[in-house]
Structures are given as structure tokens and as C-alpha cells.
């Protein structure tokens, strides 16, 4: 068993209202020094040896991310 992390983020050109809201909240909290925030999803999968990179990419592409608006990265 291994743990794999998949991060899914909105493509750069897609509006991210959540990230913008967090940025606004940081400003109200008086925290400066953060110039941008983007919010995405983070998945933790427990996989056995049978799941190879290709299969992981397929899982990410079809289930975890919506390729129309999101990109993903996989970390073993």
C-alpha cells in the first residue's frame, strides 16, 4: 500500500472566486505579503502495487479533475 496525493487546481485562466475570497479575508485580517491565492482540491489515495502511473493519470483525468477547467498533478 502506498499513499498517492493528487492536487487539482483550476486552470490559470479560469476565474477562482474562492481564492479571491480568501485573498480578501487575508487583507481584512491585516495579513500582507500574500499576493495571490488559488483554491483547489487535494486527494489522498491508498493504492496497491497494481496501480501504475498510467492508471493513476486516468483516475485523475476522469474522476478527480474536470479537464475542461482543471489541471492536476500526481505525487507518489
Amino acid at each position: 500500500m502506498a499513499r498517492v496525493a493528487v492536487d487539482v487546481v483550476l486552470k490559470a485562466e479560469i476565474l477562482d472566486p474562492q481564492g479571491q475570497a480568501i485573498l480578501g479575508a487575508l487583507a481584512r485580517l491585516g495579513i500582507s505579503g500574500v499576493s495571490d491565492v488559488r483554491q483547489g482540491k487535494h486527494f489522498q489515495l491508498e493504492v496497491d502495487g497494481s496501480v501504475d502511473d498510467e492508471q493513476l493519470a486516468k483516475i485523475a483525468d476522469t474522476l478527480l479533475a474536470n479537464p475542461v477547467i482543471e489541471d492536476f498533478t500526481i505525487r507518489r
Binding site: 483550476l10 485562466e13 479560469i14 476565474l15 477562482d16 475570497a21 474536470n66 475542461v68 477547467i69
Partner: protein, 754 residues
């Protein structure tokens, strides 16, 4: 990126032969030449961007315009219409100084690509249209069509669309008070997502989209402009700029409902303080549309400094800014002495507002980019004087065959057991089954004025806490009927929505419509379209309910296969006292069940033929609009005089389905005796129009029957409510427990979607 000079007016005049990608932008050569003729030179690429979006089918209605004129020409005279067609939405007088505005719009294609965001931004767009009229948006409805239940693509599209409609509307705080959810193969690659919004204001608060008064300021406010929905513009950008600029722009728009909620509150405060001269929402065609339309409708000129537009993506070029469909933006025309107050309200709501231009009397829309002139055109030519086509029309050669194949020979259920099984089969069919899996995702309570909502025949809202006046709305359409006869099909949609509104006790007064069709370049589709428009216009004339606005959606097809022609009609009714509304559920023990109207053997396009036999053919049910008016008068009277304690119109699935819905809604049993000599199958399942089921308290029976007799409304007593019996019994034929009915009706969608 290497710096490349923008395409200025001077440069355009100096380089008449420079090739431009008009075809990629969807303009015909003749259209391109006309633009050059109007301008007396080739357009700059920014001007080309403006004309290409404004002259698109979507914005210019170039294929539909000559047909849609009938809505105006045949419009019945009424004194309730305050603003007719042509504005962002029509406005209706609701009495006592109240005005109501409503409109329906499609967002079909985006909802197929990205169901959640497509549907969400569809709701967002129509809400801004209503807001633009000066009204507080008070409710939404949604009319949805999908491919067959059970196919993987429907599994992808339907939950996303429903979550999107709910996600956006719920967050805006708009109650969803009704709609439709229907299924047919032709919508598999092309779902229909039509969203309706209704708004309320005082009659003296109506706002129009006009840029009047030279010297007044043009203010863009709301979200920043990003690269949303500008597939077309990147063609331009790549043609006029170096390769490196060619990056992929998102074709999907993402909605920010919170931004829109704040924008609504901000606008309402601005309206209340009377701070704008004119206002326009930014929808399709974004800034191109807002600037040309505002200027064209007002004093006639406008100067804009395009580089002042606040951007989300600083690399956007002028063409992209002009075409961007970024959501949650508005444009206002503000007198200089009101500007500070205007900006202060925006600041209070944390809404970004930027003066980007000035109204002029030059008759020209002029735009600069970093000081250089990039646009100089007569705004009317972009906004109102686009091309108009009289597309070829041809009745499909197989239409007759299709109609003659009338399904008379389809085996019909005869015995009590067969009829019982048929009823359960229909009740659990995707089209007739309970839609609560859908509607339970929609907030119907928010704003505290919802009097009726799904699954009632019509949604009804009180206009405001301070009054008992209200409006009722229903949206309906039937692609199967329309396919068999587009003229009649459009009238059937109208008749059903009209009947639904009357069943709730409201007087129908106005119509909006969304015409969903295949490609206008297909003469067969164009015939369907022309017939449907003619039918709807004629129908509205007879019912005295003018069309106040609407939307045309063409190119709904997968490959060469168009969707069923689907005109969706929304009818708005007014009611003086919402406490007198009539609901659908049986609720009084011993109340007498009456059927109003007459039943013929009519199964063309019926739910029975489609669900049981997979068959669509024959003639749709006959429409008799005079009879519909009579029925509506009777229903409204019954509500006003307290003659009935429930009413439900009959439509798809006929009497049987209506009885099921009345029983389940009221959690009440009923004993039904079909009229003497009637064929039970026809009596139960025929889809004859102009009918309704009502329940009459015994104390009112004489008054009720006298009233029907006096008005020559056919009626038949068909049974009695047995509140605690827990069964729907059709005497001599079958009986079904409410539990079994509920299971049949309620489990269809959850079984598929969880």
C-alpha cells in the same frame, strides 16, 4: 511577447487590402463587405470583433427576426403591458403600482460542455437581465431536457446541471418555484437548459437601457474582465498579433454567485437612490453589446477608453476585452453630479466600479486604446441594423408519413389489471415521475414570499410582504407534440402553461418564450421554427396574452440530427389576493371530485405511446383556445369564490396521472367512478386539452355546478376524496395504495442518481 501596434482607425484607412479573419469569426463575406461599406473603410480588428459578435445569430436574431415580428404584429391590446418586446425584458402591471418583469433564456451549449458552470451562468445571466429593468429579482424557474435516463452522458449532464441551477440560484437567495424536467433521445448530445427569472418593482422604478445626456459618465461595475468565452477573439488576436499571444482561452465561463448577489444588492440601492440614467447588463458579447446598445438607444454617441477596463488577465488585447463574456458585470450611465454617490454605494458593497467613458451626441461609438483610436462606428449599425435573413423553409417530405402513422393499432390495455399496470408504468416513467430529486436541491423558501412552488401546477409568489398581491408562473413545452405539428405544438405549450397558471387561481396576462431548435440553415428546421412562431403568435392573440420577450436558441443538434423542436413557453398570471390561491393536493375528506372539460380519444405524441411503445406519431391533441379561456375563467372564479379546495390541470399522462398527483400531494385517497359508457383507457390516459380536476366541498356543489352550467363548461362528477383510505381506487377496475403510488413516482430519479 513582442510589442505589436494595435490596429487603429488610421491604420485601417491606410491599409484597405489587409486580409481579416472575418470567416473564422462567423461573418459571411457579404456581411464583411457591408461593414466596410458602413465604415467607408475596412474595419479595425476591434471593430470587426464588435460586428462579429453583434451580428452573430445569438445577438442579432438574423434568421429569426422576420418571424418574431409576428409577436408584435399580432399582439393583443391589453392595458397590463407597461414595457413590451425589445427591452431586456417585458414589464407587466400587477396593480396598486406594482410592476412585474420576467423572461426566459437558454444556456444549452455551455451546459453540455460543463454542466455545472453552464447551468449556473445561465441562471446568472437571466437574473441580470431582470435586474437591469430596475427590478428586484424574486424567483427563478428552470426548464430542463436531457437524453434518456440511464445513459452515461445523462449521468454526467443531469446532476451537474441541477447542481448548477441550484448552486447559483440558492446562493443568490432566489426561490426556485417550478420548471420542467423531460427526457428524449434527441437531447442526448444537446441538453436544454432554459432559465426564467421574475422581478418586482414599483411602476415608477422601471429602468431602460439608454445612454442619454451628453457628458454623462459610462461606468463599468462588478467583476473584472477576464478571458472567458472568447474563443472567437483569439482568432482575431492571433491574426493581428504575433504567435506568442496565441494561448488557449477558456471557452467555459465560471460563475461567481456571491459577486452577483452583492451586485444585485448594490444595484437595488443605486436604483432606490435614483442614481442612474440608463443601465445594461453584460451578457453574451459583453462590452461590445453594452456599449453599442446603450449608445444606439440613447443620445447616440459614446466615447470609451478601453484600456480603463479593469482586467483579471492583464494580457488581454482590445478585441478580447470587447468580446469577453465574463460574468457578473453591469454598465451604467450616470450623471456627473450623481457619480460620487454612485461610487459610494459600490464601495459600500465592495463592488469594483470604473468610469470608462462619456456619453456624446456625435452619433458615433468611439474607443481608444492607450490614446489611439481603435473604434469609430455608428452604434445602431452594430446593435440594430444587422443582417436579416429570410431562410429557405421547407416542410419535410416525411412529415405526412410521420403523422399518418398514427398509432391507432398500438395494443391498448383493457382489463383492470392491465390498466393498473399501465398507470404504474406511466407514473414511474422518467417524464412523469416525481421531480423532487431535482427540486429538493432548490431553495423554495428564501425571501419568504413563496406561496406555491414545485410540485404545484404553477409557482406563486407574493409581490412583497406589504401586500397580498401576487404572480403565478408556469413554463411548459412538449417536443413530441411540436415534432408532430409545430404550429399546434407551440399552442399546446402555451395552453398548458396558461392552464397551469389559471389552475392556481391567477389570471394569465403575459408570455415569455424560449425557442429551442436545430440549425436554421436546414429548411426543415426552419419550417418547424416558422410554424411554431406562427402558432404561438396566433395563440397569444386568442388568449390575449402578449409575448413580452424571450430568446431563440438555434443549432441544437448532434451532427445533422436536430433536437425535437422545443418551444418552451412561460406564462405569467396575476392574482389580487394570494390567500385565495388553489393548490393541487386533495385535502378535504368527502370533497367531490369533478372533471372539467371533454375527453376525446387523443394519443398522438402521448406519454403512453412514447413510454409504453416508444412511439411518436399521429396528430397531437386538438387545441381549442376558446375552450382554454373558458376553463381558465371557471378556475379563476372557483378560486375567488371559494368553490373548490383543490385544482390540478390535466396534461401529459391524462386523468390518471393528474389523480395520482392530487392524491400524493395531499396524502389523501380517492374513489373514482369513470363516466358511464366511457372507454376506461381513453378516460384515464388520453391527453385531450382544456381539462382539469377539481374538488368541491359538498356545501359548494350546487353553486359550483350552477356556475359551470351557466358558463357552458362541460363537467362530470367522477368521485370523492377519502382522506384516510390510503388508496386511489377506480371503481370496477383497480385500486392502488398511496404507498405503492409513491414508490412508483418517487424512486425513478433516486434509483439512478442516489
Amino acid at each position: 511577447m513582442t510589442a505589436v501596434a494595435v490596429d487603429t482607425v488610421a491604420r485601417a484607412a491606410a491599409t484597405p487590402e489587409q486580409p481579416q479573419p472575418y470567416a473564422e469569426l462567423g461573418l459571411a463575406e457579404i456581411e464583411y463587405r457591408r461593414i466596410a461599406e458602413i465604415l467607408g473603410r475596412r474595419p479595425t480588428s476591434a471593430e470587426l470583433a464588435i460586428y462579429s459578435v453583434m451580428w452573430s445569430e445569438h445577438c442579432s436574431y438574423k434568421s429569426s427576426k422576420i418571424h418574431l415580428r409576428q409577436f408584435g404584429e399580432k399582439a393583443p391590446q391589453t392595458d397590463t403591458l407597461l414595457v413590451g418586446m425589445g427591452e431586456n425584458a417585458g414589464v407587466v402591471d400587477a396593480g396598486d403600482g406594482w410592476a412585474v418583469t420576467f423572461k426566459i433564456e437558454s444556456h444549452n451549449h455551455p451546459s453540455y460542455v460543463e454542466p455545472y458552470q453552464g447551468a449556473a451562468t445561465g441562471v446568472g445571466g437571466i437574473v441580470r437581465d431582470i435586474l437591469t429593468m430596475g427590478a428586484r429579482p424574486v424567483a427563478v424557474m428552470d426548464s430542463l431536457r436531457f437524453g434518456p435516463l440511464g445513459l452515461p452522458d445523462t449521468d454526467r449532464v443531469l446532476p451537474g446541471v441541477v447542481a448548477g441551477v441550484g448552486g447559483y440560484g440558492n446562493c443568490l437567495g432566489l426561490p426556485n418555484i417550478g420548471g420542467e424536467t423531460a427526457f428524449h433521445e434527441s437531447y442526448l448530445g444537446n441538453p436544454l437548459v432554459n432559465a426564467l427569472c421574475v422581478g418586482v418593482m414599483r411602476t415608477d422604478g422601471i429602468k431602460l437601457a439608454r445612454a442619454d445626456g451628453p457628458g454623462n459618465k459610462v461606468v463599468l461595475f462588478g467583476a473584472r474582465t477576464g478571458g472567458d468565452g472568447i474563443g472567437g477573439a483569439s482568432v482575431l488576436a492571433s491574426a493581428s498579433f504575433d504567435q506568442e499571444h496565441q494561448k488557449k482561452r477558456p471557452s467555459v465561463q465560471v460563475g461567481d454567485p456571491f459577486a452577483e448577489k452583492v451586485l444585485i444588492e448594490c444595484c437595488l440601492e443605486i436604483f432606490a437612490a435614483d442614481l442612474v440614467v440608463g443601465i445594461q447588463d453584460l451578457g453574451a458579447a459583453g462590452i461590445s453589446c453594452a456599449t453599442t446598445e446603450l449608445a444606439a438607444a440613447g443620445t447616440g454617441g459614446m466615447d470609451v477608453e478601453l484600456d480603463l477596463v479593469p482586467l483579471r488577465d492583464p494580457t488581454l488585447v482590445p478585441e478580447e476585452i470587447l468580446m469577453s463574456e465574463s460574468q457578473e458585470r453591469m454598465m451604467a450611465v450616470v450623471a456627473p453630479d450623481r457619480l460620487d454617490d454612485f461610487l459610494n454605494v459600490c464601495a459600500k458593497w465592495d463592488v469594483l466600479a470604473t468610469v470608462i467613458g462619456t456619453v456624446t451626441d456625435s452619433g458615433r461609438l468611439r474607443m481608444t486604446w492607450h490614446g489611439e483610436q481603435i473604434v469609430d462606428l455608428p452604434p445602431r449599425t452594430a446593435a440594430h441594423e444587422g443582417p436579416v435573413y429570410d431562410r429557405p423553409i421547407e416542410r419535410p417530405y416525411d412529415q405526412d408519413v410521420f403523422v399518418e402513422h398514427d398509432g391507432r393499432t398500438l395494443p391498448r390495455p383493457r382489463t383492470g389489471d392491465e390498466l393498473r399496470a399501465t398507470l404504474l408504468r406511466l407514473t414511474s416513467s422518467p417524464n412523469l415521475a416525481s421531480k423532487s430529486w431535482v427540486t429538493d436541491q432548490y431553495d423554495r423558501y428564501v425571501q419568504g414570499n413563496t406561496v406555491l412552488a414545485a410540485p404545484e401546477d404553477a409557482g406563486m409568489i407574493r409581490l412583497d410582504e406589504s401586500t397580498v398581491r401576487g404572480v403565478a408562473l408556469s413554463v411548459d413545452g412538449n417536443g413530441r407534440y411540436t415534432n408532430l405539428d409545430p404550429y399546434v405544438g407551440a399552442q399546446l405549450a402555451l395552453a398548458e402553461a396558461y392552464r397551469n397558471v389559471a389552475a392556481a387561481g391567477a389570471r394569465p396576462v403575459a408570455v415569455t418564450n424560449c425557442l429551442n431548435f436545430g440549425s436554421p440553415e436546414d429548411p426543415g428546421v426552419m419550417w418547424q421554427f416558422a410554424e411554431a412562431v406562427r402558432g404561438l403568435a396566433d395563440g397569444c392573440q386568442i388568449l390575449r396574452t402578449p409575448v413580452t420577450g424571450g430568446n431563440v436558441s438555434f443549432y441544437n443538434q448532434t451532427g445533422n440530427l436536430p433536437i425535437l423542436p422545443t418551444p418552451v413557453v412561460g406564462v405569467l398570471g396575476v392574482i389580487d389576493d394570494v390567500t385565495r390561491r388553489t393548490a393541487q393536493g386533495f385535502r378535504t375528506d368527502g370533497a367531490l371530485v369533478y372533471l372539467l372539460g371533454e375527453t376525446e380519444d387523443e394519443f398522438g405524441g402521448s406519454e403512453w405511446a412514447y413510454t409504453v411503445h416508444g412511439f411518436i406519431g399521429g396528430r397531437p391533441p386538438t387545441v381549442d383556445l376558446a375552450r382554454e379561456r373558458l376553463l381558465a375563467d371557471v378556475l379563476i372564479n372557483c378560486s375567488r369564490d371559494g368553490l373548490v379546495d383543490s385544482a390540478h390541470d390535466l396534461s401529459e399522462g391524462g386523468l390518471a396521472q393528474a389523480l395520482v398527483e392530487c392524491c400524493l400531494r395531499g396524502d389523501a385517497g380517492a374513489r373514482i367512478v369513470l363516466p358511464e359508457g366511457a372507454d376506461p383507457f381513453v378516460a384515464l390516459f388520453s391527453e385531450s386539452t382544456a381539462r382539469a380536476v377539481v374538488t368541491v366541498p359538498r356545501t359548494e356543489e350546487v353553486r359550483f355546478t350552477d356556475m359551470c352550467t351557466a358558463r357552458r363548461m362541460p363537467f362530470a362528477r367522477i368521485g370523492v376524496v377519502d382522506l384516510l383510505d390510503g388508496r386511489l381506487e377506480v371503481q370496477g377496475l383497480f385500486s392502488i395504495s398511496l404507498r405503492e403510488l409513491r414508490r412508483a413516482s418517487a424512486s425513478t430519479l433516486p434509483r439512478r442518481f442516489g
